[in-house]
């Protein structure tokens, strides 16, 4: 309690012991207040107080404004050079792993001799997956390291099983299909869920960057700090004008103009950064996420369709999964067509919709044949769906690429909107404070 008693200021007392809250000369706070009281008594003293207030205000403004700007700039830079590229790698990993299943299932349908294009595509998928894996392992934080380890451990197991499936199928052995099934189980129960977790982690990190990078609170903080600094300067000038009877103070005026200028620059910069980053999200990364997800699901559907045939109708799981995926696709295709039309790619959207409709029709036909036990005709029809599926997935790949280019452009706009601000805010604030001090000093000197 006795410490309180020394530090308690008049008017802020706890009310517990009013008698003790009275200021006693000799204590640090007491002497500071005494010093202020002494200054207030004379005009030059008041001017000194104003100078101190202006400096303190400038430091506060500089710190708050820089903080708000820095939070935006860090997030925008992280989104453009770190989290979005990682999300894009995670999407590649996910799509490639999913596509490898579909490609191999389709390849094995042809029996011993798989088409060379399918073989090449499977190998390309594995290459893309391993590249994305090493990229992600190097760059991603520890949040995604467990699922990345899972994929790194299971990928050799998976490809081993696939090669066994091929070797056995070349001899016409039904165990080839069983090996493929085992490979697909490794993929769908271990690798793909892990890829999904990596993807979601990276999507969340990018989302966090967007949230910080477009946070209106940063802008409001910046505006509030600027307004407060300007009010302080204007009030100070009015006060100085009243006590010194001089209307104009060049130093103070320069300081005000400088703060106003940096405020306008900052508001314009932050607003345009926010808009660009929103564009990067809406037209870039979000627009890439939808075709990425569609590509993953489409290859899953094609894999299911082929696997049903590879298993010669002995297993129902794949047929059921196909139906589940078919139910999940419409919201994505709707969103895809909204996104394509928004970017003016109406013709592409129409072509995609038509292709998807014919894919669905052909798939339904195959399933009908398969259900009625007509394996031969079902098999004969399968290459047609594989062709449409290939076209759809390369179309989706194109959409992902276009969206990523839009992201890169908009994200670059976002970061360049803030160029120089991080340097300008503290420097101009210091200069403004110096100008104000010089202006005030001129008045103080008039009393010497």
């Amino acid at each position: 309690m006795w410490v309180d008693q020394d530090l308690t200021i008049e008017g802020l007392g706890t009310g517990v012991a009013p008698a003790r809250t009275r200021r006693r000369p000799g204590t640090p706070v007491g002497s500071a207040l005494g010093w202020v009281r002494d200054r207030l008594a004379t005009t030059p003293g008041r001017l000194v107080l104003v100078s101190i207030l202006v400096v303190v205000g400038a430091v506060c403004f500089g710190a708050i404004a820089t903080g708000a700007e820095q939070s935006r700039e860090r997030a925008a830079k992280s989104a453009s050079s770190q989290t979005e590229p990682l999300l894009s790698q995670a999407a590649s990993l996910y799509t490639a792993l999913s596509d490898a299943n579909a490609t191999e299932a389709t390849a094995l349908l042809s029996g011993g001799l798989e088409p060379p294009t399918k073989r090449a595509r499977y190998l390309a998928d594995i290459g893309i997956a391993t590249n994305a894996l090493s990229e992600l392992t190097r760059e991603a934080g520890t949040s995604a390291s467990a699922p990345l380890d899972t994929i790194a451990n299971q990928l050799p197991v998976y490809s081993g099983l696939v090669e066994n499936a091929r070797a056995n199928s070349r001899q016409g052995f039904p165990i080839g299909a069983a090996y493929l099934r085992a490979a697909v189980v490794v993929s769908t129960t271990k690798m793909l869920p892990a890829a999904d977790r990596v993807y979601r982690t990276e999507a969340q990190r990018l989302d966090d960057d967007y949230r910080t990078g477009t946070a209106t609170s940063s802008l409001i903080t910046f505006i509030a700090a600027s307004v407060a600094a300007l009010i302080l300067l204007l009030v100070a000038q009015r006060y100085v004008a009243r006590i010194s009877r001089r209307i104009l103070n060049i130093g103070m005026l320069v300081a005000t103009v400088a703060v106003a200028a940096i405020a306008v620059w900052g508001v314009i910069g932050l607003t345009s950064e926010q808009n660009s980053l929103s564009t990067a999200q809406q037209h870039g990364s979000d627009a890439a996420e939808v075709p990425s997800a569609a590509a993953v699901l489409l290859s899953r559907a094609q894999g299911d369709l082929s696997l049903t045939l590879v298993n010669r109708g002995t297993d129902e799981t794949d047929a059921l999964d196909f139906m589940a995926v078919e139910r999940a696709l419409p919201p994505l295709t709707r969103e895809l067509s909204v996104l394509s039309r928004r970017t003016g790619a109406t013709a592409a959207a129409n072509r995609f919709d038509a292709d998807y409709a014919s894919y669905q029709a052909k798939a339904a036909q195959i399933q009908g044949l398969q259900k009625s036990g007509n394996l031969k005709d079902a098999l004969a029809l399968e290459p047609a769906t594989a062709t449409i599926s290939d076209r759809l997935s390369s179309d989706l790949g194109g959409q992902v690429g276009a969206a990523q280019r839009r992201f890169t452009r908009a994200a670059a706009d976002a970061t360049s909107s803030l160029d120089g601000l991080a340097f300008a805010i503290p420097v101009i604030t210091v200069l403004a404070a110096l100008a104000a001090l010089l202006g005030l000093r001129q008045r103080i000197n008039e009393y010497r």
Binding site: S110, G111, N164, N168, S169, G172, F173, P174, I175, A177, A178, Y179, R181, A182, T188, R200, A203, D207, Y210, T214, T216, L219, V227, L230, L234, R238, V267, L270, T271, Q274, N275, S278, Q281, D286, A287, E289, V290, S292, A293, A294, L297, R312, G313, T314, D315, T317, L320, D321, M323, A324, V325, P331, L332, E335, L339, S372, G373, N374, L375, K376
Partner: protein
């Protein structure tokens, strides 16, 4: 002065509102992530049901009608009118009924029996259409009349014979054990407490579970019997126990395996026919008896199953009524 401040504050609010409009909406991203959450629906697992066997069937007529001359009003006449026999078959059982990638046809021991039935009806063994069935589809497709007959490794249990009529036994499989050729095991008894695989909830699983604890293996269940062969090649299990017909196919696919030990139980296969078509059941039994008499059955056995298998005499038909 005051009004200037007010203007400034007003300006700040307007700027904040305009800036707020630019705040990103992540609806597209949400749609993408939600779609990726699609789970694989589970399939209902079937239980083997009662394993009591009912192996007798209807007596065939003294003489079979000549091919192409089916008695009018008979189910065979109906099939003949259609032009081909609709037969439900297996497409994944090597040498019994399997889709051969090289010929693009389903072929095997069972398919050749179907061809013999087609030959008896039409005089033409090619007058049939195979329908590849899942295990779950076998009985319902006969009951619903989607196929005329199912020749798909159906064990003749009494519970099934209440749902469909069976022909006489056309193949008498046994539950046996398959081990790698370097395995010291020579019977199920040697595999006590070792891992033995069988297809999930199948009859072989129940048979192994019924063994005394000291002889019982650790049972590993896979969705399909052929998945057990994958497990064996990957060194995960010590043996596979299932129908000899299936094990013969496994041996054909992997010469590093062998069938050991005595039979653990009979697994007689019968052809399933709709209960309304007893004339067809008798006809098929007549065809089977004929095949066994003239040596066709034995030739087919040798052709499809002779590679690893000691040839066996044809199963003795049991008739009732």
């Amino acid at each position: 002065m005051r009004s200037r401040l007010r203007h400034l504050a007003g300006l700040a609010i307007i700027v904040a509102i305009i800036a707020g409009c630019g705040t990103a909406s992540d609806q597209a991203s949400k749609i993408a992530l939600a779609a990726l959450e699609t789970r694989t629906p589970g399939t209902a697992s079937s239980s083997p049901g009662s394993t009591t066997l009912c192996t007798s069937s209807l007596r065939p007529p003294a003489t079979l009608p000549a091919p192409g001359k089916m008695p009018s009003g008979s189910f065979m006449a109906k099939i003949r009118k259609r032009g081909y026999l609709l037969a439900g078959v297996n497409a994944g059982l090597l040498d019994f009924g399997y889709f051969s990638p090289s010929t693009g046809q389903i072929e095997g021991f069972e398919i050749d029996l179907v061809r013999e039935i087609a030959k008896a009806i039409f005089g033409n063994p090619n007058a049939y259409q195979p329908v590849a069935l899942t295990v779950q589809q076998r009985i319902p497709s006969v009951q619903q009349g989607k196929v005329d007959i199912v020749v798909d490794a159906i064990t003749m249990t009494c519970s099934r014979s209440k749902q469909v009529d069976f022909s006489t036994v056309y193949y008498d499989a046994k539950q046996r054990v398959l081990v790698p050729t370097n395995s010291p095991a020579r019977s199920m008894g040697d595999l006590a407490h070792k891992k033995v695989c069988a297809s999930a909830s199948s009859t072989p699983v129940s048979v192994m579970q019924a063994l005394p604890a000291s002889e019982r293996p650790v049972i590993v269940q896979e969705p399909q019997a052929v998945d057990c062969l994958v497990q064996m090649q990957e060194g995960q299990i010590d043996g596979i126990s299932t129908d000899s017909s299936i094990l013969l196919g496994f041996q054909a696919q992997d010469p590093n395996t062998m069938i050991v030990g005595p039979s653990l139980g009979d697994v007689p296969y019968g052809m399933a026919i709709n209960k309304a078509h007893t004339d067809f059941v008798r006809f098929v039994n007549g065809v089977l008896a004929q095949l066994e008499r003239d040596g066709t059955w034995q030739k087919l056995q040798e052709h499809w199953l002779g590679q690893f298998h000691q040839l066996e005499p044809p199963p003795k038909p049991e008739y009732e009524g």
